[in-house]
Amino acid sequence: MTDTLSNTHAASLERTKLVRAGLRRRHMSEAIFRGLGLAAIVMALGFVALLFIDIGRKGIPAFTQSNLHLTVTFDPAVIEVGPAPARADFTSEAEYNAANLGWQREVALLNWNTIVEQAMRAAAPAGLDIDSRTLLTIPETDARHRIRALFVENPALLGQTVDVDVLASANATNWIKGNIDRSLGDAQQQLAAPARTLIDTLVENGTISNGFSWSIFTNVDSRAAPASAGLLGAFVGTLWMMLIVVALAVPIGVAAAVYLEEFAPKSRLTDFIEVNINNLAAVPSIVFGLLGAAAFINYMHLPISAPIVGGLVLTLMTLPTIIIATRGALLGVSPSLRQAALGMGASKTQMVFHHVLPVTFPSILTATILGIAHALGETAPLLLIGMKAFVAQVPTSPFDQATALPVQIYLWQGNENRNFFEPRTAAAIMVLLAVMICLNGVAIYLRSRLEKRA
């Protein structure tokens, strides 16, 4: 009896020990799991922070630009050109346009650099010995176009003196901002010693000052005048493509999903289509680019480098995402809703369009915006349809040649003036990220609003 008692006592002790050990193990594994989870979050955030800090550190300085405040004299001795044609002298609009174009070309072929040089000399300290070539490395090369544009707009400026702000050249900007190591010797500097001294003097006397770089947002890309290179062309190109994606991918995607989910008979064929849609979502984007080049450019003869082709390719890429998300959302609608609608005598179409589809709106919208955000950052397929070209115009229609924001980043990254374009590239990345964050913000806002309503 005592034996059994002590035995049971010993057994219970044993059991307690086992339970305690088991508990400890469980607690330990829980602690380990929590620790790992926390470490994963810290690491992920760390990488994101590293990325943002690195891009911000490089990119933020690029949002300021160095401006040269020049006093420009439209010297009649240099601007030797007849008066601009007046509309009254011509009988037809076409004749006037031809004469006007001819006059503009005549103006364009004048040596405007002489005007820029005179203005630079006027700004420099008196008696400075500097040759005109070195002097002209300080203002950006588009200074002459800016001054010429003023004259073309208002030919009455001939002989007058006006204040004009022009950009400092990319190399001058590098020197002012310290993008290039200022302690390097003459042989390693991009600018000649007299130009560097003059820039420092001009910064001191206020002829050169830094201001917010609106040109990043208002100008198109430029290689002739790198300091004036901006994102406008790429931004509009991206906008055209996204319009095409929204206009095509959303209706086609939702219609396909509704048909497949609600109306199509379950058969081998629909199963096959379903498997293929899921596979399509996993196809690397570069394959869509190759497909686009073959189908839209070579076969359908759409223009190269045009947003229409980019938009179509990105539509193909976004379609599976939208179809899958919409189908998932339709599947999630409660059967009671359907049965209630059918029970009230609604037809199947009425049930789907009046009752089921509106409930899925928030999910469809989120999928669409996320799909577009994905398409917005897509670069690889665009490279294959010729959208990595240098385009110095704002596309006025989806059929004009254009680049896109991510491609512009790629192009700037490859520019040979590394010192100037590294910060510019980072600035472009910041703009792209800002657009994406805005899009995601809109998605979250709309979803929460629609969910409340539904």
């Binding site: 070309r105 500097q189 095509l248 086609i252 003869h301 229409i308």
Partner: protein, 340 residues
């Protein structure tokens, strides 16, 4: 909901209409692609061209390397093919045949200046004074030692020549899609191989293999732009890279240039023909597109004008080495005369 349905149907119909409308619409912007060496020059000309000729659109300039550009160029005639291919070497016979086969029969060659090819290393590293034979010995898979071809034994530059730095051999060269590669092969490797001598009795194919097979462990082929080569040099400062002279001149703060045969590359030494590794730059114009796509003729004339590619012109400031004015006049005359 019905409205949304109708709207989507309308959008799809509109898109389909837009697509068909594109067939009829003809392109009014010059489309250019090709050599990444020529790209900066062509882009600058494109911008200046549209400033001087307000009635034309700014030409669009793509890259893809000389080979890639000529391939696009020779795809055929029509709106969806390019008008001009930039090239840093002459068009090959095989490429011309491809052109003819695709119906591109009027190919007009325009030579507009020169560019040097330089060897440059990290500015923090030692100086290099190279000769073609040393480069050949550094990168060929098999080299001559005591009259026989053996696997390349050199691991450091100093083992090839005591005057070279005591540094591991690593050379970043342009990939085969670049025109620069051809010139590098011809002017440096082939010249070096000839100087070093190959064993007698080799067939032509064996000779070609001996000079074009490089050691994969020390040679890095770059298919992208020079910035990619520069990135290699930054990550491994012991690498020597092959660049265009104009690219080097824009990055003198991070690069140090090597002499070849004792000559320092510069605009002057290349123009005078003293620096051995240089090449003419070209672009090829599709004659059949002249008059169809507006502005091609004017673009070529503007490109070859004194103020653009001549001495003291816009492109010289960007690193182009101008050719003699009478050569330019000759090129322009043969362009205007038409198909050759």
């Amino acid at each position: 909901m019905k409205i949304a349905l109708y709207a989507s149907a309308a959008v799809i119909a509109l898109a389909a209409f837009g697509t068909t409308a594109a067939f009829a619409q003809s392109r009014d912007t010059i489309q250019i692609a090709g050599s990444s060496t020529v790209l900066p020059f062509a882009s600058i000309v494109a911008e200046e061209f549209s400033a001087a000729f307000p009635e034309f659109n700014t030409p669009v300039v793509g890259s893809g390397g000389t080979g890639g550009g000529l391939k696009q160029f020779c795809e055929g005639v029509g709106d969806n093919t390019i008008d001009i291919a930039n090239a840093s070497r002459k068009i090959k016979d095989s490429e011309l045949e491809a052109c003819t086969a695709a119906g591109v029969t009027d190919v007009r060659e325009v030579q507009f200046g020169y560019d040097g090819i330089v060897f440059a290393s990290s500015s923090s590293g030692p100086d290099f004074a190279l000769t073609p034979i040393q480069v050949y010995k550094a990168i060929a898979a098999q080299v001559m030692v005591d009259g026989a071809l053996v696997d390349n034994p050199y691991t450091k530059w100093s083992e090839i020549d005591a005057a070279l730095p005591d540094q591991a051999i690593s050379l970043a060269i342009p990939g085969t899609n670049h025109g620069t590669r051809e010139v590098f092969q011809l002017e440096v490797v082939d010249a070096g191989a000839e100087e070093a001598g190959l064993p007698e009795g080799l067939t032509d194919d064996e000779k070609k293999a001996a000079t074009t097979t490089f050691r994969q462990d020390v040679v890095i082929e770059i298919s992208g732009d020079y910035t990619e080569t520069l990135a290699r040099l930054t990550s491994n400062p012991e690498t020597v890279g092959v660049f265009g002279l104009s690219f080097y001149e824009q990055n003198t703060d991070s690069l140090k240039v090597a002499t070849v045969n004792g000559i320092l590359p510069s605009a002057e030494t290349v123009a005078a023909g003293e620096y051995p590794v240089s090449r003419p730059l070209f672009f090829y114009v599709k004659g059949q597109h002249i008059g169809v796509v507006p502005g091609i003729e004017e673009y070529v004339q503007f490109f070859l004008s004194e103020q653009t590619s001549g001495a003291g012109g816009t492109l010289e400031a960007a690193g182009l080495i101008p050719q003699a004015a009478d050569k330019t006049a000759e090129v322009l005359a043969s362009f205007e005369a038409g198909a050759k």
